[in-house]
Structure formats: structure tokens, C-alpha cells
């Protein structure tokens, strides 16, 4: 079953067209990495899929339910209740974690399941503690975000997203705001999620990680998908010149 299907997505900021005719389909348990230089549109694509940005053209479906349909070339969003329901299908982990600073770790994780999904408090807390243990943070449940390192905060953010029981998770450069020595702990968490068959779309700069964990790699530049395929095809044997140039630059940097 395809969890997410987008067709012919267009997005502009003013005169600048950021996404040009993007189509993509994601199957259950698939792990997809999106690579590309800054300004290539990869983060905008992710934010459109997470419905933080509205699209200017094209259509989107989640779990075979229409979120946006294209009516004579113009995108029409589904009803508010439908969108609200669809929002529950996915979670997003931000580059800057965006934990709620006034909530403790456990409250960050449990508040939305209790007050948005109206689940029982006991059950939610129990699950949250299991998640924290999995993240190696079981001793931190009463800490406030400012008392944690960046890596710990990002793990709480992942736990917060998982507590909503999404069908798929989006990651927007999850390690970019971290010190290099802290990226490892996040990548480890992502790897274990992949092992558990979580459907994930990851915008990242970590080439080695993308190679080892992804089922499929997408290389974007200038608002289009330049190259798409298995890690072996896109990362190890890129066909397109722009992909080659980008990968070369990345390997120099690291």
C-alpha cells in the first residue's frame, strides 16, 4: 500500500519557483533519503508533505485518502476534519527540535496524545516511559529541555513524534543543528526505527548514513528530482553531472 502519493507538486515563494512538478510515491516500511545542495527545495518538499506549507499545484494523498486534489490545475484542500485526520498519519522531527520549553520531557511527549488524541493518561504515560527508555533517556523524564544536550533534545523530539503513533515519520535535517560528536546517537535511533519497519522520509546531509539505511535515495537540485534510485545507483554510481558534483563536494567536506 502506498502511504504517500504526491503528483506534479508546484510551489513558489513570490516569483521564485522552489518546487517544479515533483511526483513521488512512498510505500509502507520504505526508508527514503532526500539529498541535495541547500536551496534545492528538499526542505520545502518535506514541509509541503507535512502540510506546513500549502502547495500551488498538484495533488497529495495519504494512505489512499485525498488531502489535495487538483481541480482544473488548481490545488483544492480537503475539509478541515479530513485534514485533521490526515495530520494524524504522519509526524515530523525538526532540525531545531522545537520542544516546548515550558513542558518537562514527559509532558512534551504525553500532552498531545492525551489532549489531542484523547487517549487515557495512564496508557500514554506508560508508553512514553517505554519510548524514553528506548531513547536512553529514562532518567530524564522530569528534566526541562534547556537542561538537555542537543542530542538528548532531538531524541525527546523523536519520542514525542512516535508517541502519536504515526504511520510515517518525516525528518528535516535531524542532525544539522547538532555538534558532530552528537550526530551518531541520533543516527543510531533512526537506524533502529528502520529496523522496526518504520516508514521514514529523511532530508539529510549524512551521505554514509543515507547509503546504509535507505531503501531509496532521491537527489534534488533546482526544485526538481534529478536522480532517484537505490543507494547503490544514486550514491555509488551517479549518472547525472549535478549529482556527481554534489557528492564530490560532500566527500571533500567530510
Amino acid at each position: 500500500m502506498s502511504l504517500l502519493e504526491i503528483n506534479n507538486i508546484e510551489k513558489s515563494f513570490g516569483d521564485l519557483q522552489v518546487l517544479k512538478d515533483i511526483s513521488l510515491s512512498i510505500d509502507q516500511t520504505e526508508v527514503i533519503s532526500i539529498l541535495g545542495p541547500s536551496g534545492s527545495g528538499k526542505s520545502t518538499l518535506l514541509r509541503c508533505m507535512a502540510m506546513l506549507e500549502t502547495i500551488d499545484g498538484g495533488d497529495m494523498s495519504y494512505c489512499e485518502e485525498k488531502a489535495v486534489t487538483s481541480v482544473s490545475g488548481l490545488p483544492v484542500y480537503a475539509s478541515k476534519t479530513q485534514i485533521k485526520k490526515i495530520r494524524g498519519y504522519f509526524g515530523l522531527v525538526f532540525q531545531n527540535f522545537n520542544l516546548f520549553p515550558h513542558y518537562s520531557v514527559i509532558k512534551n511527549i504525553t500532552d498531545a496524545p492525551i489532549h489531542v488524541q484523547k487517549r487515557s493518561k495512564n496508557e500514554v504515560y506508560k508508553e512514553a516511559r517505554v519510548l524514553l527508555k528506548k531513547m536512553g533517556l529514562d532518567d530524564k523524564e522530569n528534566y526541562y529541555p534547556y537542561q538537555l544536550s542537543g542530542g538528548q533534545q532531538q531524541r525527546v523530539a523523536i519520542a514525542r513524534a512516535l508517541a502519536m503513533k504515526p504511520k510515517m515519520l518525516f525528518f528535516d535535517e535531524p542532525t544539522s543543528a547538532l555538534d558532530p560528536e552528537l550526530t551518531g546517537e541520533i543516527l543510531k535511533v533512526l537506524r533502529s526505527l528502520a529496523d522496526e519497519k518504520m516508514t521514514m522520509i529523511i532530508v539529510t546531509h549524512e551521505i554514509d548514513f543515507a547509503r546504509s539505511v535507505s531503501d531509496r535515495v532521491i537527489f534534488m537540485d533546482g526544485g526538481i528530482i534529478v536522480e532517484e534510485g537505490s543507494p547503490k545507483e544514486v550514491i555509488d554510481n551517479p549518472k547525472n553531472e549535478r549529482t556527481k558534483a554534489f557528492l564530490k563536494k560532500m566527500s571533500f567536506n567530510s
Binding site: 495530520r87 515530523l92 531545531n96 520542544l99 520549553p101 489531542v116 526541562y144 534547556y146 502519536m164
Partner: protein, 503 residues
Amino acid sequence: MKLKKISLSRITVILFIVYVLISGFTFYCAADNSKTFTVGFDAEFPPYGYKDESGEYVGFDLDLAEEVCNRKGWILKKQPIDWNSKDMELKTGAIDCIWNGFTMNGREDKYTWTTPYVDNSQVVIVKKDSGIDDLSGLAGKTVAVQSDSSALAALTDDDATEENKNLAASFKELQQVGDYNSAFLNLESGAIDAICMDIGVANYEIKLRGNLFVMLDKHISSEEYGIGFLLGNTELRDEVQETLWEMLGDGTFIRIAEKWGLESSVCLSSEDSYIDNTVTENSQSLVERFLSISKQLMGGLTASLAIFFLTLLFSMPLGLLITSGRMSKLTPLRWIIKIYISILRGTPLMLQLLVVFFGPYFIFGINTPASYRFYAVIIGFTLNYAAYFAEIYRSGIQAVPKEQYEAADILGYNRRQRFFKIIFPQMVKNIIPSVTNEVITLVKDTSLAFAISYTEMFTLAKQVAAAETTIMPLFIAGIFYYIFNFVVAFVMEYIEKKLNYFR
């Protein structure tokens, strides 16, 4: 330790200000080498002294003073004063005399007087159609007098006649007002039923206001006007007195009286002699006076506290409502709120209080009950402070990163939850320093309620200061305000610390 540091730096600041004031004063005195004669007067007391249509200070008393100065070769300085502060002005030498339809009766021992030059009486003014036609008709009514005026003294002083004391006791309320203009506005709007005042001023005001008002036939007292000098300053008094007699002799005095229609009231005579008085010391000890004045101010403190707490109680939530309008997606609503905030921040609070108090009558013709005075204070303060709080809230909301909204949206919170659960607590933390400023300003702003004659602590302090001819009540009021604000600052610091659990 931190507390000590703050109060030390405050003391340094206070010392610096005192230094600047003293050095400025010394300079002022040194520069003054030609003889000036500074006359203190209430600029709202026609026809004796007031501001005419061209903005000049004119009047019978000022004309007399001008003539005296011409003859003596002095430079006349017309100094309008706040009537409640007249004794302080005189004591500090800021004015040389009080020359302004100044009643001698009951004040014989407080000043060095010239001989009386006007005979005046205290009369009662009511609205023409009020149905009140004699003094007994004032029973159960609200009657206004100017604070520390002869009318007030005639009704309530220890040496007032029994008849007048009984009359005053029959009133529903004896309201003290700052000036006659607001007294007449009050009378016209029905907030008060009668005004007791000097006959000369009464005649003038009735004529000026198109005979909307009438004077009761029976006077409540008769009295005389003199020129008051600082007790003991006989030298200057004698110079002025001799010049007045000179003016009386050559007919100038009567000519000036005729110019102001006062020829039937003047009574200057070279046969009169001075009142004999000397400086007497107040027998109460400093501590006793401090305590007695503090006790008198307590009633005013309660009123100030009421204004303070009720204003906060209403304006803080109202401010939030206004902010939501200010940040609304509806353009017309946003503009209305913008204009509201602009007006409330752009005009004096004092003016807003006047509009709220007198507006119902003068705009809509609604007669307001006597209790409306207090409500008007609270409404005026609330509307004004809500505008300020609204802008503070807005800055606090805008300081919350937009990613917090996105995180809340991704987790499925609705708009209400997003605001009250996620944005609001962060806003509160952002705005604490600005709110502290605003709350401390409010403590001091409560004194502005005097604009509509609501007796809070500062108004009371001025009245007590006038009655006891000392600045001690003002000083004590200052201490009370400071303590009040010290507590406010302490509480706000506590709240700020409590909110330090997150960053």
C-alpha cells in the same frame, strides 16, 4: 545582598537629583538682581485672576498688582499656583504673596495680611430648574466646594457657626473639587446638586454660563479679602499696603474696581489697621504629627489600592482580548483596534478620565449617579491600561518562535490549545519585565484620579498639606507610594523567579 545593592544605587540617584535641584536653585537666585514681585494666584478664579480668551492672565487682583509694581518700579511675575500648594509656594519663597480673592476670615493667624480690600460673602449656586430655592432644600443633596476654600471653612471649620455646621450635616455629601470649572461641569451634568462659593466669582460664572444657574438668596457667610504674605514678612506687606492706600487716594483703586464690576464689593479704607499676629509654633511633636497625618492618609491609601487592584483585574484580561483583535486576520477589526490603541496611548490618561466621567452627560445627556465617579475612575484606568497591556502582550507573542506554532500544528493541537497551552505560557515569561514597569507606573498613576475629584491618597495628601500648611503629608504619601512599589517589585521579582523553571 542583591537587595542592598539596589537600594544603595537608588540612594546615589536620589542624592544626585537633590544636588542638581539645589545647584539649579542657587543659580536661579544668583542671576536674579532686579527686584521682581511674584504674585501667586489661582488661575481659575475669575474675575480676580484667570486666563482670558487670548491666553493672558488677567483679573481685578492682577490689575491691582500690576499698578503697585508700576508705582514701585518692580517687575510683576504672575504665578498661577495650585490652590492646595499655596502655603508651600509662600514658604519656599517661590511666590511673594497670595493675591487672589484671598479670604482673611479664619486665616487671620496664618499670614501677614494687608487690610481688607474686598467684602465678599459665600453663596450657594444651584441649577435653575433644580427646584431648590432655599438652604433647607439642600438636605440630602451633594454639594461641592473648592478644597481649602472659604466656603469649605464656613461650613466645616471648628469655628463655623452652628447653623452652618447643621446645614453641612444635612447634605448627602460635601464634595471637594479642585477648580470651579469642573465644579460647574459636575453641576450641569447632575453629578452634584449645588456649589458653595464666593459671591463675586458666583456672579461672574452665572453670567458667563448663560444664566443656567441661580444663586440662593440667603448667604452662608460674609467675609473679607486681603493680600496674604508669609507670616512675619511685614516689610513687604507695608510697602504694598502704602501703595494701595496711595492708589485709593488718587482714585486709581476705584477705577480698577469699576473695570471689573466690583465697585460695590470693594472696602479698602485707610482707617483700617492691621491684624496683630505673630509666628506660633505647632505644639505637636514631629512623631505625633507623622502618626496623625499617616492615619489621615490611610483612607486615601485604601482608595488608591482599590484603583490599583481593580484596574489590574480588568485591564489584564481585556488587554489579551484587544491583542487578539490587533493580531486578527480581519483587516477592519485590526484597524479599529489599532486606532483604539493609538488614541488611548496618544492622549493623557487625565483627559480620558474626564471624558469617561463627563461623557455620558455631555455627549449622550445621561444623568449619572454620584457613585459613577468611582466607576469612571476604574473604567478610564482599565481602558487605558488595557491598551498598553495589549501591546506588551503582542510583543511577547511575537517573540515566541514561529517553529513553536509549527510543532503544535504537527502534533494536531487546535488553535485554542495552541495558544493557551503552548504560546501563552511562553508569552508570559517574555513580558514579565515590561509588565513590572507598567504595574509600577500604575501605582503612581492612581494619583491621576484627582482629575475627576476622586479622593485617593495623593489628593488627600494635598488637602491635608493645605489644611496643616506643611509638606509633611506629601512626604508621607511619597513614602507610602515607595513602600507600595517596593512590594510590587518584590512580588514581580518572585513571579519572575518562579518562571525561571524553563528557558
